[in-house]
Amino acid sequence: MNNKIGLIVEREFAERVRKKSFIVSTLLTPLFMIAMMVLPSVMMLKGNSDTKNVVVIDNSPEQFVGKQLTSGKTVAFNLLPEGETLGKARMEHKSEYGILVIGNDILDNPQNLQLILNDASSMSVEENIQSQIQGILRTERLKRYDLENMDQILADANVRVNSLQTLKNNEQEDDDNMERTSTAASWGLGLILGMLLYFILIVYGQQVLQSVIDEKQTRVLDVMVTSCTPFELMMGKILGIAVVAALQIVIWAVLIIGASAFVMPLVAGKLGVDTAAIAATAASSGSELAGIVGKFTDVSFLASWNCCSIS
């Protein structure tokens, strides 16, 4: 019986591995997956390389907000004089990126802000404007309390608990050396493995199914059923395809790790793109998965792989 299963495993494996489509799918799939994860971030970053000119109509008292806005690489602000009307600005500044309108009660009503766009929206511009105005309003409100050394008090009170050191309990009373764990890495790994499981079940399960369908249609099944039991036949197929799957996944793992560690920084350098910026953009875009991947493109993160363990 084992001999027959072995024969079928051998046949299924040889048939799949020799096909050109095996080589193509093995090499292309990880490239495709990496591209899918990284390209959106790269494109966003490239798209943001031009400085956006934003015209500002500031109705706040003495234009205190507009005067404190600083231009940078992402956004350049052009504060219009007091009294300028929005209607006129919309006609005259059609070629600029957009018009920022600050309401006169902005200090008490921070939501009184509008950005009228002449072009496609950009998250980085919006974030820049929001964070700058947030900071300006915060400082102004604190001034109202008129306390001395306000900055120092705030700096002192601002405590950040950035990282909780997680350790795995070694269940030893005397030994204080415990292994560090990384929640983020565990979570990320869990997510990736979960996705991989779905992918494997669907793709390779489908292959087993297709194999049986093909044999039924070509009447090979009639011959096979008179040569072995159905159990031997299915077991052989499943094991054969499982071996192919294992081989493909090992190749992908090698390719992806190799690509992350060595190829990505090279490629990124050629594109004139900063990998750290990709990570930052990916993380700030709100996509947690992209954030995890952003971490993956950071080579130093790979060093901390050793620290994580899956309990």
Binding site: E15, T218, R219, D222, V223, M224, T226, S227, T229
Partner: protein, 308 residues
Amino acid sequence: MDSILKIEHVSKTYTGHKALDDVSMEIPRGSIYGLLGPNGAGKTTLIRVVNHMTIPDCGKVWFEGHEITAEDIYQIGYMPEERGLYKKMKVGEQAVFFARMRGMGRQQAVRKLHEWFDRLGLIDWWDKKVEDLSKGMAQKVQFITTVVHEPKLLIFDEPFSGFDPINADLLKQEILGLRDRGATVIFSTHNMESVEEICDDITLINKSHNILSGSVEEIRRKAGGNTFQVLYSGTHEDFCAAVTGKANLIGQSEGVIGGYTQQKIHIASDDDVRAVIGSLNDSVNLRSFQEIIPSMNDIFIRAVNGTL
């Protein structure tokens, strides 16, 4: 009768359709057995029941004196009607695979397969893919993979379909060779000539019933009914006078090349045949006297139409 296979009162119904209805037959060991019938009669279903691929609703199948079990199928070689080969696999590799699936060792399989391929003129195609072969060649490959492990019972479903006369003859010779080496062969076919040439016994199935069973020779003789074709030269009156009381004329006489006359007659009793020959010899110039045995084709048509 020493029978290798016995089918007793087997019935099989698929949803809404009765494929086999109380079919019984017995296959003598070492014979070549023909399974005949129109399309849709139930031949393939019967073969599947024999193969243990389908379990009948009722009835029994006996193989080598015991009820057939799953293990027995390894002693049966089965060739399905459509090609049962992997299209994208190489011919030689595939043949070795099937041979090993039937219990042969690798080296033994390769050696025997090379012999078969050589004999059937396929050796140049060992490394080609099956999809590159013509229908007839693929059929030959299929045949080889079915017989290479030398099973006791061989079942072929329409083995001659797709063969030109030369290859059909080759296959017939191979089947006879297998029989001579001790195998029993069952094959279903519409090729009535092959049935006449190599079958010892047949069963004719029509609309899920067994309507005719027995040895080919006997069936043909019974269907023949003592009809003879006479070729003579002489007068019609002398001829009639010679056969009066012993034989009846069938149809009109015909003039044929050489100046002879052809006439069919029917002799009622076997005992009168010699007397008729003698009488005719005295009265006319007898050229030939031949029994007309209906072809299997005629018998098939008459049996299916219910006019046998």
